[in-house]
Amino acid sequence: MLSALTQLLIYQLAGEVIARGLALPVPGPVLGMLFLFVALMLRGGPERELQTTSQNLLQHLSLLFVPAGTGIMVHLHRVADEWLPLVLSLLISTLATLVVTALVMKLCQRTPAATGEAQ
């Protein structure tokens, strides 16, 4: 577990350094994910330790959002003042994004060129 975690941190560090160094708009961890992905392609897959550690980490991905979410207590005033636009904006926008993304993809998949492996 230790070596897998170290590996993840090294990729994140590389991502952060390069993103900041080159002033890229890409976030460091996302760049790190890209680097690891390329490395996996080159080495033909993750070793078992990296596989299990990542699985454990991702299994409780939602836990990692709890501290930031609790930050809502700092903004209770603004949320109370502007609750109607906030609530409706989030609701309508999230719904619209889900529908538009899914329908556009479904539509594109139907075009003859892309029917390949669709079940």
């Binding site: 993840l8 990729y11 994140q12 991502g15 708009p25 890409v26 976030p27 460091g28 961890p29 996302v30 790190g32 994910m33 690891l36 992905f37 996996l40 392609m41 993750p46 991702l58 991905l61 939602s62 836990l63 990692l64 959002f65 709890v66 501290p67 930031a68 979410g69 609790t70 930050g71 809502i72 207590m73 603004r78 949320v79 502007e82 109607l84 636009p85 906030l86 904006s89 989030l90 609701l91 926008s93 999230t94 719904l95 619209a96 994004t97 889900l98 538009v100 993304t101 899914a102 329908l103 556009v104 993809m105 539509l107 594109c108 998949q109 060129a113 892309a114 390949g116 492996e117 669709a118």
Partner: protein
């Protein structure tokens, strides 16, 4: 002699131990409830844990800063977890490659819809400019959304909260939305939830189906990049 409760509390409330422990406890309790309901999306574990923590901190008069001194250790793991998403992505790469066109089209359509609809609805309902700008990157994963908000003149910490709420809304509602519009492909369902609801949607997608999870992770990463590039360009048009 009975130990002085107040003294113990003074020690605990100043140490990161408490913030970390209650975060894990609240989440495990919330996850237990989630499992007891058969992974019902309405019993979203992030939602329940956050409600429990806000209640606890408010009742004990603990500030968010004090709490975060402990909770930051959990928050920090968001980085390595994002990197770890490369592994399911690798596993599902064949399927991703076969769906290149729908993936690219869905990415841009979804990303623009997320930004424009959030800002427009808030404006029509009379939200302040800083609230509108804080809403704009709400579908992007937390650390990136905060960075974008700062750059365009929003309030980063408010954005963080809006991002989480968006994530919860998507994780809770996506199943019903997809069923209603008859989208069944786990790859498309995963990708759409990743665009709309970043990591929280991705977490939910992984609990449903590995392929959905991989596509959600892909969508989350791509949407972060597209939004970070497009939003500053789009901004003058939205003002």
């Amino acid at each position: 002699m009975t130990p002085d409760i107040a003294q113990i509390w003074i020690y605990l409330s100043a140490s990161p131990l408490l913030g970390l422990t209650i975060t894990l406890l609240a989440y495990q309790g919330a996850f237990w409830i989630y499992q007891r309901t058969g992974n019902n999306p309405l019993a979203n574990p992030v939602l329940i844990a956050v409600l429990a923590l806000v209640l606890f901190l408010t009742l004990t008069g603990t500030s968010y800063e004090t709490y975060f001194a402990g909770a930051q250790f959990v928050h920090f793991l968001l980085g390595p977890a994002t990197v770890a998403l490369a592994i399911p992505l690798y596993t599902q790469f064949k399927r991703v490659r076969s769906m290149l066109l729908p993936v690219i089209a869905g990415l841009f359509a979804g990303s623009l819809t997320a930004i424009i609809s959030a800002v427009m609805v808030a404006r029509l309902l009379g939200a302040s400019i800083s609230t509108q700008l804080s809403l704009a990157p709400k579908s992007v994963t937390t650390p990136i959304a905060m960075g974008i908000a700062e750059r365009i003149g929003g309030i980063p910490s408010l954005t963080a909260v809006l991002v989480i709420v968006t994530g919860i809304l998507g994780a809770v509602g996506a199943r019903y939305v997809f069923d209603a519009i008859k989208v069944r492909d786990p790859a498309i369902r995963g990708f759409a939830i990743g665009i709309a609801s970043h990591g929280i949607g991705t977490a939910r997608a992984f609990q449903v189906n590995e392929q959905s999870g991989a596509f959600a992770a892909l969508a989350m990463g791509m949407n972060a990049v597209v939004t970070a590039i497009c939003l500053p360009i789009l901004l003058p048009l939205l003002r």
